[in-house]
Symmetry: C2
Subunit: 180 residues, 2 copies
């Protein structure tokens, strides 16, 4: 019930095709609201039917035609309405924690390697976030409005990844000394 709104937010920042939106979801808004291109196409169609967005067919040379979507007045109204109502608190689904919890029922060394691998993935993600921060928000003290809000969300990502990394280190250290 909120992919719609994530798309509306993204389309308000800039009009785009389903494909472009899927790319954006891979790189920015999808870090805290993941979505596949299939899901995005489906929801765009639904929103088009509901009149929250409109599309323009754009012919391209050497590429398939695309449909560029933009938010309609009804879409902006829906977004405003949604912004004023409560959202569910964040949902985390972390298989790694399940694994750690069950580690002693299997190969604990393999679980430890998994933790190290996840640490690597999260370190890479943190670097991505820091790169965006350096490039887009070099002077955070001067921000306000939309840019400030984007920056704050990014800060949430940075904090979450930093905290995850620190946790991985704690787990790795504890599991290593347990095994030795």
């Amino acid at each position: 019930m909120a992919l719609e709104h994530a798309i509306l937010v993204s389309l308000t920042e800039r009009a785009g095709s389903g494909y472009e939106l899927a790319r954006r979801f891979d790189r920015s808004i999808g870090f805290f609201w993941p979505a596949t291109h299939q899901q995005i196409y489906r929801v765009l169609r639904r929103m088009d039917d509901a009149g929250w967005v409109t599309h323009t067919d754009v012919a391209q040379e050497g590429r398939p035609d695309k449909k560029v979507y933009e938010v309609s007045a009804a879409g902006r109204e829906e977004l405003t309405r949604w912004l004023a109502e409560p959202v569910d608190i964040a949902v985390l689904r972390d298989g790694l924690s399940v694994k750690i919890r069950g580690a002693s029922l299997g190969d604990t060394a393999a679980v430890l390697r998994e933790v190290e691998r996840h640490r690597g993935e999260h370190a890479a993600l943190l670097e991505v976030f820091r790169g965006i921060q350096r490039r887009d928000f070099p002077k955070p003290a001067k921000l306000n409005g939309r840019e400030l809000h984007q920056y704050l969300v990014l800060r949430g990502g940075v904090r979450a990844e930093e905290s995850f990394l620190a946790w991985c280190d704690e787990v790795i250290e504890a599991m290593r000394s347990e095994r030795s």
Copy 2:
């Protein structure tokens, strides 16, 4: 594909009925792998058919009969197999971030109140985690095996909530000074 394994881990720790599992998911393992009672009943049935668990009907006085599930040899084998293969990295779905990002398109004061509300929810959750930590793991340095692993997962929850709270404070401060 991993609720099965979360249930297997939980049932290995202690046998239980679908209802009891649903309670456990509300209080512990479900913090990083949420599930409703419906989903749990359905998956239990599937695992029973697959032979990963067995059930015993237990008649009770003044209450409906219950089916107490326990992990079979095939279930333990499946769990071991799963523990050795890679898991997807954690998925976060956070509507609050979407809202903050879209805040300037609506009532920013309302979004700020939402952040404060979420801060409260997460502070309560952190207290729950700390309570479990005090009660179940007063001497963390002495832990090993299953208890150590449970403790480490709990530490992940504590760290995640602490980090979330700090982020909320940063957001609240930035949005307040922006508005004044």
